[in-house]
Symmetry: C2
Subunit: 186 residues, 2 copies
C-alpha cells in the first residue's frame, strides 16, 4: 500500500495482481471448507452409528456399547454436527469472497466465527480423545478398567472417528491463516 500511494501509476497493475491472489486464496478457502465439512460429517456419523452388542447377556443386562453411554462422546457428535452445519453455511460467504475479493468486513466476521468453531471442535475432539485413551488403556490408579478388551469394534470406531475431527481442526488453522493473508494484502 505504501508503494501504491507513492507511485500512483503503479496502482492498477498491483491492484489487479492483488485481486487475483485474493481470488486464488478465496477459492482455496472454499475447497478447504468442503474438506473440513466432509471430515466433521464423517466423524459425527462414525461416532453416532457405533453400536456393539456382546454375544452374551444376563437376565437383566444386555451388554451393549453406544456413543451416548459417555457424555464426552455425545458432546463430540454434537460439536462435529454443529461445526459441519456451520461449514456448509459459511460456503455462502466463501463464494461471496470469490466474487468480491476485496471484501474485508465479512472476512473478519468469518475469521472470528471460524476461530470460535475451531475452539468448539478442538474441545470436542480432545474431550473424546481423553475418554478413548481411558477406554483403551484404563487407569490402574483410579481402578478404571479398559473396556476395549470387551468392546473391540466399538473401540476401533471411536478411535477412528477422532481422525476426521483432527483433520478438520488442521483445515481450520489453514483457513484462518489464508484469510489473514487475504486481509493483510489490502
Amino acid at each position: 500500500m505504501k508503494g501504491g500511494s507513492i507511485e500512483l501509476g503503479e496502482v492498477p497493475r498491483n491492484a489487479t495482481t492483488s485481486k487475483g491472489v485474493k481470488r486464488g486464496l478465496s477459492i482455496m478457502d472454499f475447497i478447504l471448507r468442503i474438506i473440513a465439512g466432509v471430515a466433521t460429517l464423517a466423524s459425527a456419523i462414525a461416532m453416532a452409528t457405533t453400536d456393539e452388542r456382546l454375544p452374551f447377556a444376563t437376565a437383566f443386562i444386555q451388554f451393549r456399547a453406544q456413543y451416548d453411554d459417555l457424555p464426552s462422546f455425545v458432546f463430540f457428535v454434537m460439536g462435529n454436527s454443529v461445526v459441519c452445519g456451520y461449514l456448509v453455511l459459511s460456503l455462502i460467504l466463501s463464494i461471496f469472497h470469490i466474487v468480491r475479493s476485496t471484501a474485508v468486513k465479512t472476512r473478519i466476521l468469518l475469521i472470528v466465527l471460524d476461530m470460535v468453531m475451531m475452539g468448539v471442535l478442538t474441545a470436542a475432539a480432545s474431550a473424546a480423545a481423553s475418554i478413548v485413551y481411558i477406554a483403551h488403556y484404563g487407569n490402574t490408579q483410579a481402578n478404571w478398567f479398559p473396556i476395549c478388551q470387551q468392546y473391540n469394534s466399538f473401540c476401533e470406531r471411536i478411535s477412528g472417528s477422532l481422525i476426521g475431527s483432527y483433520i478438520a481442526v488442521a483445515m481450520f488453522v489453514i483457513i484462518i491463516i489464508l484469510s489473514q493473508v487475504a486481509i493483510s494484502r489490502n
Copy 2:
C-alpha cells in the same frame, strides 16, 4: 484507506485518530495477556500441586492421588505451562505494538501464534474436563467408579484448576478479535 487515497488532505487527522485507537487496543491486548498468563499459571500450579493421601494403607499400597496418575492431567499441566510461557514472551511483541501501533506483519504473526496456543489450551482444558467429569460421576456402562467419593480434596482442586484455563481461553478469543479490529483499521 480508501478515504485517505481520495482526499489526501484528510489523512493526517484520520491517521492520528486511528493511531490512538490502535494504541488503545494494544494496551488492552497487553492487559488481557497478563490476565490470561496469570490464569494459566494458576491453573498449572493448582493442578500440579495436588497430592492427597488417604489416611489408611495396605501393606503394599498407599492410597494417594496426584495429577500425574492421569495422562490427561499431565497434558493439562504441560499445556497450561507452555501457554503461560508463550504469553510472557508475547508481551514483548505486545509492547512493540503499543510503541509502533501501525505494525501489521507482527500483528498477523501474533494472531496466528495466539490461535495455535488457544487451540492447545482448549484441548488441554477439555481433555482434563472430561476426565474430571468421569472422576465425579463415574460411568455405570463402562464400570468406571467415581473416585471423588474417596479423594475429596483432590477432586475439588482438579475441578477448580479448570476455571483458570477457561478464563484464559476466553481472554484469547477477546485478544484475537481485538487484533483483528486493529489490523482491519489499516
